[in-house]
Amino acid sequence: MINPDYKYSATNGIQHEEPLLFEHAHEAPESISLPGVDGPLSDALLAFARKTPANIPGLSEPETVRHFVRLSQWNHGIETGFYPLGSCTMKYNPRVNEQVVRLPGLAHIHPDQPEDTAQGALELLYETQQWLGEISGLPYVTLQPAAGAHGELVGLMMIKVYHDARGESNRRKVLVPDSAHGTNPASAALCGMQTVELKSGTDGRIDLDELKAHLDENTAALMMTNPNTAGAFESDIKEICQLVHDAGGMVYGDGANLNALVGVARPGDMGIDCLHINVHKTFSTPHGGGGPGAGPVAVNEALAPYLPVPRIVNNGDSYALVHSDENSIGPVLGSAGQTGVLLRANAYISAFGRQHLHQIAEDAVLNANYVLHRLKDRYHVPFEGLCKHECLLTDELQHSHGVKTLDIAKRLIDLGFHPMTVYFPLIVHGAMLIEPTETESRETLDAFCDAMLEIADQCEAGDTGILHEAPVKPFRRRLDETQAARNPILTWKEQ
């Protein structure tokens, strides 16, 4: 049992102000010892010499380390505390994964060095590819897409080419539920397709009648997220896929929420034709403050001919990259994929293995339902029933006290937690989407729920001043986003 004094972890601590490195102005010393060849440069090259230096300030090594370590201390990370961002799957990132990808034989190899000098890398990538095919139930996989949104684009390219190859170039309509991630319609547009938004049913799920009304001979695909962004499993999945297939369309699965199903059920078995997998979500590769991620795409046999090149193949006792194939949609990245990210995913799957992989989804879903159970009487739950890996609440009960989702989110910061995802999905007002993931303990979940209940208490008691002021503890308070957008200052200019 934790002493209540220590329950909420945020403190003011030692907080350092840290200027911009451009303000650390002093004569730059010899900051780094570099190897290299000295010698004359050609006159031809010197004719192009840069006339004015770039004005990159340069700090000594100790100053550089301190500058960036101080900056790091202004960040909240998974290693700092709970990070219940819905639809983001902020789980613990194992340190051993960081260690193994830094082995010189994996870090310092060139994508174009002879294949027989890179067999170890190709073997691990091939294995990752096969595993993702097995886990998704869609056996043909490209590792090339660099992020989830990139995977969406690649999947839609394949679907478009598939229809074209069947003489159905009229199929350009992509149905997207109104609960979808914004990347879905944006990817469709980038692929030269037209999106039609499907209104969700009253239970937050796909409405079969709405779906039927929009399916026709011009439908290329339905893009769906299952479980959806309200955290609910689309229980009609079999019928949904059947309807789309009967209309001649393909079903694209946004794999952002695969953490709810991994090892328990496979999108491919349900009728999904094409799925991207956010390895930075489900398979624990670090988010890094916004990337790098990777968005491998897994497809069924019908779409397999169109997979991008290069492809990683196994030729019996060796592995190779295949750079061209007449049916392929072509390359979508300058390399075969973000290897370092994909290898971390391999390490994560290796740790769980055949025996334990299902425990990821089971504990993730357990944790989300536990949070939902503890909060459901004090926060409005827009859609009843079990949730999957994340639960959706709204600020409806707090709104009458003048407290909004944003206030609740900011107050959580003072109490030591990263806020949940706010105002998404768009299908409810004041959404709060909470995804605890499988790597959080009951103790952490209870502390978070206690904090949420304390906020609900304060609302009901009319003690809302602190909620509107929050956050008060971080070294920066609410920032003026309007000013930033109106007068964009994106680079430092010396006075």
Binding site: V37, F48, R50, D112, A265, H418, S441, L490, T491
Partner: protein
């Protein structure tokens, strides 16, 4: 399972509070026909942490790597020195395990590092503004073409044949999904005269052209004057897009901005990021201020908090997919955030002086090699930074050389046709960095003897 904090007792207790008996009761909404028994997937057996280390170490030992070799491979990925501090900084959990900084009050570290990154990238490229990264150079080039179409409201894209073939093919792939003409010009370089045929590129511009994309230094390492192209773009009211592969060049030679680029895109991998067998690298995207609102990707801006203290936020988000959906400037969401922090750390350690030394060593190594080339190997004419094409009498001569080099742990270059399928099979793309030592060049030249 070591990453999962619950004991069986915890799980049972939590289920009990919900009135449930088993974990699978939580999946009652998933049709039973789709549920699998635990352990039924065809995956490997679970490994201990020690088992993972052994597995990856064994795999890594099947690869030969640059850290104990003489290394001359380039073509878009370069073996520059990565200081230990860079890896330390990006290994800090607060940077490594943070999400996109949508909650600025507790993300100022990432945000200030992004602001510093944007500033330094803009300065190094000579451009007004930089975004907070793209995936890598090829997709950044494609996004530049799309942005130019939005800015000019024209759809024709002209691509120089001397742009990295992978940037070309990815851009062509993206554009092929949309209406509009895409042309590649100045192809079919003959003999040893690899470079950019700027006249042909300029001739291809017409009134319908949204942009011209060139690479500088080009794929063959050639450095050339972009002033004639700038004038032609002005005359045709189209944008000049400059791609680059090794940004270290711009500490030594004129920047894309100084050459008049409207948009400059490329790779930042050279800024403290290991080659990593193709990624994660760092896509850079910069442009003139006036085109800012058509720029794709996240950007970080300066503002102040309610107490008037300086702070940073992600801004101009009305361009982005989570707000604009199908009308967004791009579908990009995750970018290469951590790699921006790596590049910012690298540039801070280097400063102008360090960056200039990296560039001078890189260029000097190539010059040293070229000045000692035997007569039976020819090199392209003109100015080169740290990369060029060597041409052998025939394929057999090249292969004899590559074999001799390999026997001495020299990665001597990339067969040109491996990246550019149209190239003949007697050419070798050779790149140098500050990691090349004088003895590497001596050994390289010695191995060339067998190519006579």
């Amino acid at each position: 399972m070591r990453f999962l904090p619950h004991t069986e007792t915890d799980r049972r207790a939590m289920l009990e509070t919900m009135g449930l008996a088993t974990l699978r009761d939580l999946f009652a909404d998933v049709p039973a026909e789709f549920q699998m028994d635990a352990g039924s997937l065809e995956l490997a057996d679970a490994l201990s942490e020690a088992g993972i280390v052994r597995k990856f170490t064994r795999a890594s030992q099947k690869n030969r790597n640059a850290s104990n070799s003489a290394y001359f491979l380039g073509g878009g990925t370069y073996h520059h020195f990565v200081p230990a501090v860079v890896d330390y900084v990006i290994s800090r959990g607060e940077f490594l395990t943070a999400y996109t900084p949508y909650q600025p009050e507790i993300s100022q570290g990432t945000l200030q590092a992004l602001f510093e990154f944007q500033t330094m990238i803009a300065r190094l490229t000579g451009m007004d503004v930089s975004n907070a990264s793209m995936y890598e150079a090829a997709t950044a080039t494609a996004e530049a073409a799309l942005m130019a179409r939005r800015v000019t409201r024209k759809s024709r894209v002209v691509m120089a044949g001397s742009v990295n073939p992978r940037y070309r093919s990815v851009t062509a792939n993206y554009l092929s999904r949309l209406e509009g003409e895409y042309v590649e010009v100045g192809m079919g370089q003959s003999g040893t005269n690899f470079g950019t045929d700027l006249e042909k590129v300029i001739d291809a511009i017409d009134a319908a052209t949204a942009c011209v994309i060139v690479q500088y230094p080009d794929f063959y390492g050639s450095v050339y004057d972009l002033a004639p192209l700038r004038a032609a773009c002005d005359a045709a009211k189209c944008l000049m897009v400059v791609a680059f592969s090794d940004i270290s060049a711009f500490a030594l030679i004129e920047s894309p901005g100084a050459m008049g680029a409207d948009i400059a895109v490329g790779s930042g991998q050279s800024l403290g990021i290991p080659m990593g067998f193709g990624g994660p690298h760092l896509g850079l995207f910069t442009c003139k201020q006036k085109y800012l609102r058509q720029m794709p990707g996240r950007v970080c801006g300066m503002t102040s908090d309610v107490n008037g203290k300086r702070g940073f936020v992600l801004t101009l988000s009305t361009r982005e997919q989570h707000i604009r959906r199908e009308k967004a400037t791009s579908n990009i969401c995750s970018n290469q955030g951590l790699m921006c922090t790596a590049a910012a750390t690298y540039m801070t350690l280097m400063g102008d002086a360090g960056l200039a030394r990296v560039a001078m060593h890189s260029a000097a190594a190539l010059q040293s090699l070229l000045s000692q080339l035997p007569a039976h190997v020819s090199a392209a004419n003109g100015a080169h930074y740290n990369e060029t094409v060597l041409s052998f009498t025939d394929n057999s001569a090249r292969e004899r050389f590559l074999a001799a080099a390999r026997a001495q742990d020299i990665f001597a270059g990339i067969p040109l046709e491996q990246i550019d399928p149209q190239a003949a099979s007697n050419h070798l793309l050779v790149a140098t960095t500050e990691m090349v030592e004088a003895s590497d060049i001596t050994d390289f030249l010695a191995a060339l003897e067998v190519a006579k």
